[in-house]
Symmetry: C2
Subunit: 360 residues, 2 copies
């Protein structure tokens, strides 16, 4: 087991990574560390892993709230149902909420933990690659508004994260690939060696080699934790983590959150960011080709057939990360070096989108 | 104008106190300091003071959301309606929410500001005595759950507080008295000189003398700010501010939040805390008499006729401040010296309640 520390002063917490952690009852009990515990999970994950948490807790100590699976349940109504569960169980301020599952469970559960009695203990047990390398680290919690994603939430750090890499074996291949998009992102914005390692070892990753999984989760969490420690509330450098996300959110919206998984839209968005960087003369053609090759080998889409450049441009203007100061984009100066920069002029962007969305 | 600083590191903020502040357009503009502004107020306060905020802002810059007046609207539905307003107005992360009104507006508005896009700028413009001396200072925001008060919320500090003491002239006398209960509370738990000053100058306060109002708001905010700076999230000493509140919450619940205003229930609760302290031998009879005399002169109730001791005891067990470690109470070692202490045995409490609720 690897243990990393996210360094946030009084809000610092450990991330435990490795195989078999859900069978480590002592680790679970020590991390949860509360006499009242509510596990929030979903209909897909509960039959697979809930028993592990039950085995690690005393008889009758665990209350369970099971959300329907899917992003469409990441709502204020799901949040309110969790609070109802707390009130019905007469939960105190020193209770603990455990989020067992993917990003939706972690985001809704985290916002409920942040808000119940103005904040109770919160433990993340992510079971998808996306949640292990991204959403369970960094303290962003939220639910969606019917008109925009992640509009209602809190920055709220967990007391600990337990990432059992064995759970990745039960993940559908398409979801695994979507998580890999975020892994590749860390290499692109922060670490060219990690990107090169992924080029070399991707076959082992795709074969779910235990050592390879441990390494990609660990390195991704290390890179994210360093950025979060520097800029917890995204006033500056943390925005780097949004590489591909401004383009990606526009695509997700056009696809009605149905055509692409989040990670797939981010993969296409990262390609568009690479192509924009190339159009500005920052990135060479060979780097763009390396990025496309790795995404493709990871079973990720790199183009969005049939999507119009104008609609993407329009939606990018209302991306929630837009500020009064105008639209920023994350671009690449090299593989391993992301930068936060004001968006280039619309003409250049339109050119990139027209070429990049559907053609070569 | 007096200006205090609440010392919370990067989250420090000023509280401006004095007459005529709502006519100080420069102060308002400088404190709000955002290009997108949503004012949250209620049906009682809007006709009285909304024009002042409109006068201080540029044409068309201000969006307004008016809640119905009353504690029964301090709900997750009111919170959601404010978020809808933000989304409809395409509000960015650097927008500002201004809460203009009493505690309900500040608590609901504050939780919406804390949660919209995980936190936007927030300014409190309290217009009741209770809000000026208590709820607008310290960063507690919340909405009620149908089954328990303040169950859903956040610790979220404002960027600034503007307490215009002229607004107290439009407050119904019963609400003014309810605010005085919290003022007297600060003297009881922290400052015997302030308590003595109130004994001497209460007539000037009740006559709304400008200098007396400025002083009680300032001194109350100073005392509260010092405690909050020490213990922002109520892990310890901040609990002192709950003097009278455990008893008070039980009474409010029995009275269906209708028989007593919050401050009135707290006044009765403070008498019960004083009587409990006396029963333990901590406080002399003359001190208890001074407390009862001051509360009575302030037009506050000191007894709860017709309420049974058993029902109060029962409700105190589920007070939200209860923890797994058992019930704590705030008691008095002297006028000016509050202490957080495990509740004395039930027999002693029952005796105090039987004597104190309805008889002399």
């Amino acid at each position: 087991m690897d243990t990393l520390e996210v360094a946030l002063g009084a809000r610092s917490y450990p991330i435990h990574i490795g195989p078999g952690l859900l069978s480590n009852a002592a680790l679970l009990a020590e991390t949860i560390d509360a006499s009242q515990v509510l596990v929030v999970t979903d209909t897909t994950v509960a039959p697979l892993y809930l028993a592990h948490l039950q085995a690690a807790s005393k008889e009758g100590e665990l209350r369970v709230h099971i959300l329907p699976d899917g992003e469409q349940h990441k709502t204020l109504a799901s949040f309110a149902a969790i609070v109802d569960e707390f009130v019905a169980g007469n939960f105190h301020r020193d209770a603990c909420l455990v989020a067992l599952g993917g990003g939706v469970v972690g985001d809704v559960g985290g916002f409920a933990a942040a808000s119940y009695q103005r904040g109770i203990r919160f433990v993340q047990v992510p079971t998808t690659l996306l949640a292990q390398v991204d959403s369970s680290v960094g303290g962003k919690t939220a639910v969606n508004h019917p008109r925009a994603k992640n509009m209602i939430g809190a920055f709220y750090q967990p007391a600990g994260v337990i990432a059992d890499t064995d759970t990745l074996a039960t993940l559908p291949p398409r979801q695994f690939a979507a998580g890999l998009a975020e892994v590749i992102k860390y290499g692109l914005i922060l670490d060219s060696d990690f990107f090169a390692w992924l080029e070399e070892q991707l076959d082992a990753v795709l074969a779910l080699d235990a050592e390879a999984l441990r390494f990609i989760v660990r390195r991704s969490c290390e890179l994210k934790a360093a950025i979060v420690a520097e800029d917890e509330r995204e006033h500056g450098r943390r925005a780097l983590l949004n590489l591909g996300h401004t383009f990606g959110h526009a695509l997700e919206s056009i696809g009605a959150y149905d055509r692409w998984l989040h990670g797939e839209a981010v993969a296409i968005g990262m390609m568009l960011a690479a192509q924009t960087s190339a159009a500005l003369g920052w990135l060479g053609d060979s780097a763009v080709e390396r990025i496309e090759a790795l995404l493709t080998r990871a079973q990720l889409p790199t183009r969005a057939e049939g999507i119009g450049a104008e609609r993407v441009l329009e939606l990018m203007q209302i991306d929630k990360k837009a500020s009064a100061k105008g639209l920023n984009l994350i671009l690449l100066e090299a593989i391993g070096t992301g930068v936060v920069t004001p968006a280039p002029n619309e003409k250049l962007l339109r050119g990139v989108l027209e070429a990049g969305l559907s053609g070569g």
